[in-house]
Symmetry: C2
Subunit: 385 residues, 2 copies
Amino acid sequence: MTAAANQNGRRATASRRLERAGIRDVAAAAGVSITTVSDALNGKGRLPDETRSRVREVAERLGYRPSAAARTLRTGRSGLIGLTVTTYGEEPFTFTEFAYFAEMARAATSAALGRGYALVVLPASSRHDVWSNIALDGTVVIDPPDQDPLVTELYRSGVPVVSDGKPGNCPVTAWVDNDHEAAVLGILEHLSEAGARRIGLLTGTSTDTYTRLSTEAYLAWCDRVGQEPVYEAYPAHDPAAGAVAADRLLARPDRPDAVYGLFDPNGTDLLAAARRYGLRVPDDLLLVCCSESDVYANTEPPITTLSLKPRRIGTTVVNLLIDAIEGVDAGSGSVPGRLFPPRYRTAGTGPPPGTLMPTELIVRASSQRRSPRTTVSPPRPPGEV
Amino acid sequence: MTAAANQNGRRATASRRLERAGIRDVAAAAGVSITTVSDALNGKGRLPDETRSRVREVAERLGYRPSAAARTLRTGRSGLIGLTVTTYGEEPFTFTEFAYFAEMARAATSAALGRGYALVVLPASSRHDVWSNIALDGTVVIDPPDQDPLVTELYRSGVPVVSDGKPGNCPVTAWVDNDHEAAVLGILEHLSEAGARRIGLLTGTSTDTYTRLSTEAYLAWCDRVGQEPVYEAYPAHDPAAGAVAADRLLARPDRPDAVYGLFDPNGTDLLAAARRYGLRVPDDLLLVCCSESDVYANTEPPITTLSLKPRRIGTTVVNLLIDAIEGVDAGSGSVPGRLFPPRYRTAGTGPPPGTLMPTELIVRASSQRRSPRTTVSPPRPPGEV
DNA sequence: CGTCCTTGGAGAAACGTATCTTCGACGTTC
DNA sequence: GAACGTCGAAGATACGTTTCTCCAAGGACG
């Protein structure tokens, strides 16, 4: 009596008949060992093609699906990647950068799936048990705050972490970010060239990297060109506060003749505020805001936006993470076939490798003074998306 | 020599020192058995509080994190819920209902996390190996097409499936949907009351439930009130096609004086088309579209929208699914403490339980004539909704 | 003819947890 | 004083894979 029959016997004794077919059932049905089944299905080992295809066929017939849990336990790899987003208050996701986040998450999901991984969304504030209840091969963190305890713990326990947004003070495997300084400088320059004399900024009160770097770049620019800074800051996670801040900015005695809004809804809010004050855009007020939404192509007038290219970011972040997971960088010439693939670790001393990605300024009517063709534009200008 | 020391010895011999602490290490450090550790940490068994807290403390000190994979394997539960969205063509997610999807996914994630589950996003078209590589306790499916093979297989293998959108012809554990018929009828009635004489529809060419039910309701209404149907259908997943279809609809010789657009961008597109043809909204053209976006509160004029209340849907779907997973419904008085919790199965004969949820019409300027006196009372449909 | 290499495959040991079963010790009760 | 219930905890097993190790058979080759 073969061992396969033995095990099958045990199985039949111990449990019901309705259970899902396991690898043992396939082995028994094909008359081979479970080793052979595993090798055949995974394309490993040295097996003649005939055996391989026969086993595959039997497995198919039995509707065999390998247990992901068992595989994960044995392999140490779950094929799961966490996508963590910092939460403001009660809401599970960031509200303000929502379009950005949605696009980024979409691209990240796509990229992960393309490499055989799946994404699981986990707010940073989740109860701890949810976190440790899930086997994660690595994590993407969006805009981690300074000293993020979650990131620190993950990193310490050997889980690769790649952050979207240059991390303040927590250790990550790698990070990706836009070149916010260059972006702000580019916009300020663009507005200046369009004739702006006093450029205002609508910014946020939170301390995330994006807000901080952008604001600092603005202040530095003001300092350099000798303009007095004109800005209003508001809690970006509060959807109502933006309109108020926009209003405040345009109500100032030193009213700017051009404004850059750091957050997605700012364009709409500024436009509404301008209308309220009888300011014409772009004649009296030049407008640019940072947004991924294409509604600004159809506003009256269309508003120039800065796109952070979230899809590119999401793809890059995920690919970096998976590279780290799969040890592309950490090889150190280890024994190839050993049980545990080497955990990724940074080289040791230096800061984590960061990647800066360019942004894209989509110039529309709101930031151009002299538009000789003020006629109503045709339905779809082909050049723009 | 205790068994714990034995096991620890084996462990130390077999592997490096840098590995994560396992339950055995905790047991050894606390001087108890692994049974006791497991019971202490999970709040099970009969242990005095003193032992419990001591074990917990040791576990904490060692930075012990239970292995999710092992727990899943043993328990049969992963705490993971799939969120599947049907894909149109190459894109990983539905484009047209994007705001809907984003909101719904957000609510679903929230609801799942609130009950200790996490969501993993899996396009229906994913390579099969990704699917079977993940241990899912259940799946939410958004708008499954007829005869969806994926849903069928999942259902057959005993994984609970709850669909958002009444399923065409595939077996699901339960489903949730809006009352699309009532919604469309409500809108048509609303437009009629605002003075519309000929109501047009902008609809899609795909066969999903939403499109089908809404269109049928429109046609039935037309039939009942004796209006000739005026509609244009376009591939809703193509973002550019919507503008063309809107244009086509307003260019017809039998141009409607009111339009309902089934998809999110229709409002913008219709507004642009109306402007192109010199039609004033709402004076010459009443406008309503189905959207979750709040940009329509700020368009010129603001556009009346139908909200499907995606957050409510997402929450409901997830709660139904988790109920099914946890066997709220399928108890059948089984032995309480047995190894495998009973898999959920439908009662047997009847159709799966469905829940219809109301929609919400957010009335704005685009669907209200300015002079209420000119309102012509339309042929009232008999109130059999 | 013995040795060595290659092919094809079987055995068995993990992976780390949860839980079922068992077992001693210690009152309690009749 | 013996049977009994309860408390506290240890032992052992199974969850379903993957993979390391090893073995048998059959040429090839000296």
